[in-house]
Symmetry: C2
Subunit: 224 residues, 2 copies
Amino acid sequence: MNQSIKLSVDAVVFGYEAGTISVLLIKRKYEPFKGKWAIPGGFVLNNEALEKAVERELKEETGVEINYLEQLYSFGNPNRDPRGRIVSIAYFGLVHPSAFKINASTDAEEVQWFKIDELPQLSFDHKDILKLAISRLQSKITYEPLGFELLDEKFPFSDLENLYTTLLGRPIDRRNFRKKFLKLNILDELDEKISKGSGRPANLFKFNQKRYFKLKQEGIIFDI
Amino acid sequence: MNQSIKLSVDAVVFGYEAGTISVLLIKRKYEPFKGKWAIPGGFVLNNEALEKAVERELKEETGVEINYLEQLYSFGNPNRDPRGRIVSIAYFGLVHPSAFKINASTDAEEVQWFKIDELPQLSFDHKDILKLAISRLQSKITYEPLGFELLDEKFPFSDLENLYTTLLGRPIDRRNFRKKFLKLNILDELDEKISKGSGRPANLFKFNQKRYFKLKQEGIIFDI
DNA sequence: CCAAAAGTGTTATGTATACACCCATGG
DNA sequence: CCATGGGTGTATACATAACACTTTTGG
């Protein structure tokens, strides 16, 4: 056996802030696709676990600390990379809004958040990867009470509402949504309010981690 | 970069016949795990697409013609294979009962169908792979009108019923199940009957491929 | 005529949906 | 006092779940 396939990992990282979903991209420094945007990632080291490789590459290339990571899909088309046969295991990650800070602290020509409906041209087959990741995110949200992984610790209910309307791309009934989500019994209402300048101040909520993860394990179907 | 990772594919193939779900395993000829049972699979060739590699290995090792194939998950734990770093992309396959014939035509010490509740000890991390595949099958059946991929062209309704009760591991209400499934409008009732020796002969059905695949694409939630 | 599997409807209960007004604050 | 976003209840339609007897064949 004389195999010369190389193995890489890529990570599609989503963040949510102020009513928009963004994805983290880097601008490539070297050929091929020099100067083009790409999903962060790189080669797996010989004795490195796959998830560790993802975390390492993300940190090296973007400085982002990932909050949630799961495997997405493996891409192995023989022609996907002009450098040779490179199979990539793609991951799917979510971060809290606080991780958005990289945008300021890093050279904007190198790392940037892009709104998912304003994407630039991408390198390799990264368009396919991103497309799959977006559809995974959209379907995931309909059967899991997603939110904990994307919102900050404390948040007004309207943030959650916005997250869902944004991801689903359609309006949802505020009353029904609130009823349904609260009935899951994974949110704790705090004795704290936040004011957004105008309008009635909103109560803050936080996820009850114990009950949240218990519910996820049970594989709840959250038919929004 | 001096990567020495090798890439393999493995395929968990399920078949359904006479009220039981079985999985296709091979007995290993060589070390490591010589003489132990394992999921069929092998190394990917340099210019070979991943799915092609799966199909080739399956044919070489078991003679089975696969009917449905999808990617399951990639396993990359650095210690999963004693021969070195081998990352495996696992696939999930379904075959028609007619493919069960391999059992007779091939050396039984080499390839065999095992009922999923009577599994032998497995090599490598194949127990984990199989476990994941089984849970995928079980969850898939609850949101997709699975059946076409596992049953023969014409079948009595009771076969479908049995498939579901077997996979779900619990009884289902025959009347409700039939109503719900027929309402999907993907089964065509034939003017043919089959008799199983005793009892009233059953009408045969077949899947209407067009409507079936259309429904699958729409991602139907089939809340059995 | 008996055993065995196939086939068939109705009712009750729960869940999803549609819908509009009052509340609390800042300016 | 006005503009802005936050917070709340009810009635209807639909879907699920529970439940048992009749039909057709082979032996």
